[in-house]
Symmetry: C2
Subunit: 548 residues, 2 copies
């Protein structure tokens, strides 16, 4: 058995190690175009920022170590130029010598990854305009910063762009992020990015929305980035992070099936349309486990798992890939954004019915020092309560709650199961009613009809405006409230029912939803048509982003 693997980073290296564990006898050839195998691409922005000053740390392993430990035939700086499927041979070019040769295979695993998109604008090839994919890219960006960059422009407010922004700020570089969308982090729902965008601004990152770079030109002091809006941004460094596209030419030229966005088509054994060729990682299309749609998720965790599974199947095992759930996380300046499952915008696009709730808890007991706030959003089926997705934004503990919810989504759990979850509680770790329990209480109360709730979007869009009843304290109300809201504190509500006119729907709200819930219960039992504003004033504020 001879296995050839094209690409030696996350998916390819995982496949190779797994293959050797499965068979001591197999011939395993790992062909990598670059000089490095299995490097920590997720760490690249932090090397630029000197958070990981030692470059060696990013080399998860080396070709030498892979040879020694796994007896792999590792060939770096070698490019596979073509696959001859009838002959079961790949055409390899040794980039050091220029020599070309054929390498036969019994099974082939493609793990070529994805390439950063470089928009074809004037100036994109100037020396200090970079994308960030490889160690060599990181070296070049770091060298530019080391040489003295005062101003940088990042095109694209995705995960990598914002990680680079944080690290440039750490290096003292004045950084502007230009984003075509009207929000950062497009996979997230817009309102969930409001606190994260605010955090970037507070830390000195300038955000420019609904705009993009049209050209870059050299100036005596460096460069100028010309935006579509007409604005001109001076910069000595430009980093382009507008997404990636599957490295599919090899597959396409070999006649393997690909999807509409270029991902190589595979079945649940990660087999391409050729049964002797598997494909894994950023280059492939997979199935979204929640929506059932075909999707492309360029993340290291799925790539590693796919590598193992492709190796299993190459050696005749029947191991299946369950699909990709879309769990993702990003952090900067001490804040975290994380998500799992479907977003609201995806559910809207594909027409899946859903309900949603928000909570704004602290990450551990408020009485223990250091509690940090977070916002969690939960999306679920309006009939069954089955979880569809979750998003979190805030300080410490967001990763934990999204991990918990990722497992709940994987297990097909409902909002009712969240009420019952028994999570770790001591005051420095959580709350007796954990944020995830709170999501369950609020969502289950909605579905059981105990707790009628309304989303801010519906309130804003309603033709006959409801009475907005602010049930917070007068001082909270004075510090900021929804326009036209009437203030009756919840503790006075029973005595002041006369101040709440009947005959008109009421939307109660407090800061996060808890007092609004009680107000809703009081008013419902007094004959009012009342709903609680889901997530309260804090959720309202999420929908009022800084216009930038």
């Amino acid at each position: 058995m001879k296995l050839v693997i094209v690409g030696g980073v996350a998916g390819g290296a995982s496949a190779a190690a797994r293959a050797r564990r499965l068979s001591e006898d197999a011939e395993i050839v790992l062909i990598e175009r670059g000089p490095d195998v299995s490097f920590a691409n997720c760490g690249l922005p932090y090397h630029v920022g000197n958070v990981i000053p030692d470059r060696e740390k990013l080399l998860v392993t080396t070709p030498g170590r892979l040879r020694e430990r796994f007896r792999l035939d590792v060939r770096t700086r070698s490019e596979v130029e073509a696959i001859d499927r009838p002959r079961k041979v790949v055409r390899v070019r040794d980039l050091a010598t220029g020599r070309g040769y054929d390498e036969g295979y019994d099974k082939l695993i493609l793990a070529p990854g994805a390439a950063p998109v470089r928009p074809p604008i004037p100036g994109i090839d100037l020396p200090n305009v970079f994308t960030l994919r490889t160690l060599a890219d990181a070296d070049r960006i770091k060298a530019a910063v080391d040489a003295g960059v005062r101003e940088a422009v990042i095109v694209g407010a995705g995960f990598i762009g914002l990680e680079v922004a944080e690290n440039l700020v750490h290096r003292g570089v004045a950084t502007t992020v230009v984003q075509l969308d009207r929000q950062i982090l497009t996979p997230f729902d817009a309102e969930m990015t409001t606190p994260l965008a605010a955090c970037l601004r507070e830390n000195g990152v300038r955000l420019v929305f609904r705009d993009t770079a049209e050209s870059i030109r050299e100036t005596p002091g460096g460069m100028e980035v010309q935006l579509r809006s007409g604005a001109v941004l001076p910069a000595q460094l430009v980093v382009v992070g507008v997404g990636v596209r599957p490295e599919n030419p090899l597959a396409v030229e070999a006649g393997l099936e690909t999807g509409p966005r270029g991902g190589v088509r595979v079945d649940d054994r990660l087999r391409t349309s050729d049964p002797d060729i598997f494909a894994v990682g950023d280059a492939i299309e997979t199935t979204d486990t929640v929506t059932g749609e075909r999707t492309q998720v360029p993340l290291a965790g799925p790539a590693n798992r796919q590598g193992r599974i492709a190796a299993d199947n190459a050696f005749g095992r029947d191991t299946r890939y369950r699909g990709t759930q879309g769990t993702a996380i990003v952090g900067f300046f001490g804040k975290t954004g994380a998500m799992t499952g479907a977003s609201e915008k995806v559910l809207q696009r594909i027409g899946t019915p859903y309900r949603k709730v928000y909570v704004h808890p602290a990450h551990h007991a408020g009485y223990y020092p250091g509690a940090e706030g977070m916002t969690l959003k939960l999306l679920f089926d309006p009939q069954t309560g089955k979880l569809l997705g979750a998003q979190g934004a805030g300080g410490a503990g967001v990763d934990k709650r999204i991990d918990v919810l990722a497992v709940a989504v994987q297990a097909g759990m409902t909002v009712f199961a969240l009420e019952e979850m028994e999570l770790c509680y001591a005051p420095q770790y959580g709350s007796a009613k954990d944020p995830v329990n709170m999501l369950g209480f609020v969502a289950a109360g909605l579905l059981r009809g105990d707790h009628p709730q309304v989303d801010w979007e519906s309130v804003a869009a309603s033709a006959d405006k409801p009475l907005l009843l602010d049930v917070r304290t007068p001082s909270e109300y004075a510090a900021g409230h929804i326009p036209d809201a009437v203030n009756v504190p919840v503790d006075e509500l029973r005595a002041r029912l006369a101040d709440v006119p009947k005959g008109r729907p009421v939307v109660a709200y407090c800061q996060v939803g808890q007092r609004g819930y009680l107000a809703t219960r009081i008013l419902t039992q007094s004959g009012y048509a009342v709903s609680n504003l889901s997530g309260g004033y804090k959720t309202y504020l999420l929908h009022q982003p800084d216009p930038s």
Copy 2:
């Protein structure tokens, strides 16, 4: 409808708030023996340690606020002395005035909690000998420390005892913990407490195992604690934390059923043997969701949930309590111990078949600064792989992994589902192969037969000793190895098979199990009868605790 609730802390206060939300019309009487309602008992040790210097912060709410917001009839410093079930009346004593009176009820919820056990030894009633349950207890201990305590003895190495120990060390008190068992934290399996005990010692806590206090006597300088072993410990403060017992006299005298350990018997609606009386919190027996056994779990999270559920049922709703899973956590000196589901010792006691694996990963990518180590142990069904329990000990991120595993246990997931979990990954939060994925890989490899593993206990107990093959580097071997182990580094193993005698079973091990796994694969495929030592040398070390 008139609801009377006995006990106003976690379960009772939750029941009262829930009851009011369910009914604006109900008469709700909350009777509490102490001066405070709904205080943060989990925060008491940290108040002693001045981590939470402000006592007010521990008052989650006050009788006044409960009256105002929930229109509750709150009666503190009032003791219910008897339940007259035929008349549906409780006998109340106003502790301030001494006046007794009857209070009728339609439904009654008992939430009396559990009382710390005070062993009947001479000196237990000396002034500076305390248990820690109430704010008043915390006040007294704090006052003693404030007045100048140099040496303290804590009797019992349970959760509260160790939290108090940490806080006394923070206050500069030389602290000795005396524990009858041969491990701290009895709910955990002994080997999982080894690193936690080491952490206590490193921070100056003296641990005395297999010993207990036989008497306490006053001396000119304070007190002396006489141990059973004959040792005498000087102390100016003694805190007794040897467990709690349900406050059941009211229930017992009213003829309600209780279990063998005193917990009030309830059904899954939390109804006692009297259909008009419910009971919640530390006073009750519940069902262990994993083992199906009756159990008593005195924790705030379950108490809060039970309060809600009892209120629901008191108002005629059909809400069920699914039982208690036993998720628990404790932290001190920056280390964490956490568990969920069944322990190995419980599975052994009840005769449930199981297998176990250990992993020793870092809490996030090793190349990102600040990665802290942890040990995770997973218990699962040997046939189906269904999860039975998990334990963790280490630094940051233990709480997250045990929460993830708690959800997996709740969902009835298997080890195979852990392999597939898609958790948040960026280098500052986790690893592309998360510690929970690693548990899944190791456990699934065991069940699939790919990865034969053996536990240290079996190796230690085996009659004909296997060959112990240390596959780490010579320098790791030199720094410490299992007695009689032979060193052949995994990277040399293929070339040095002649150094590994055949005809005798081989147990391979490395530091944590990964290289041992590869060695096992190499040797298996060369015809050896070989197993990998589960969790490697680090797990071996867990079984060699400091004898104290």
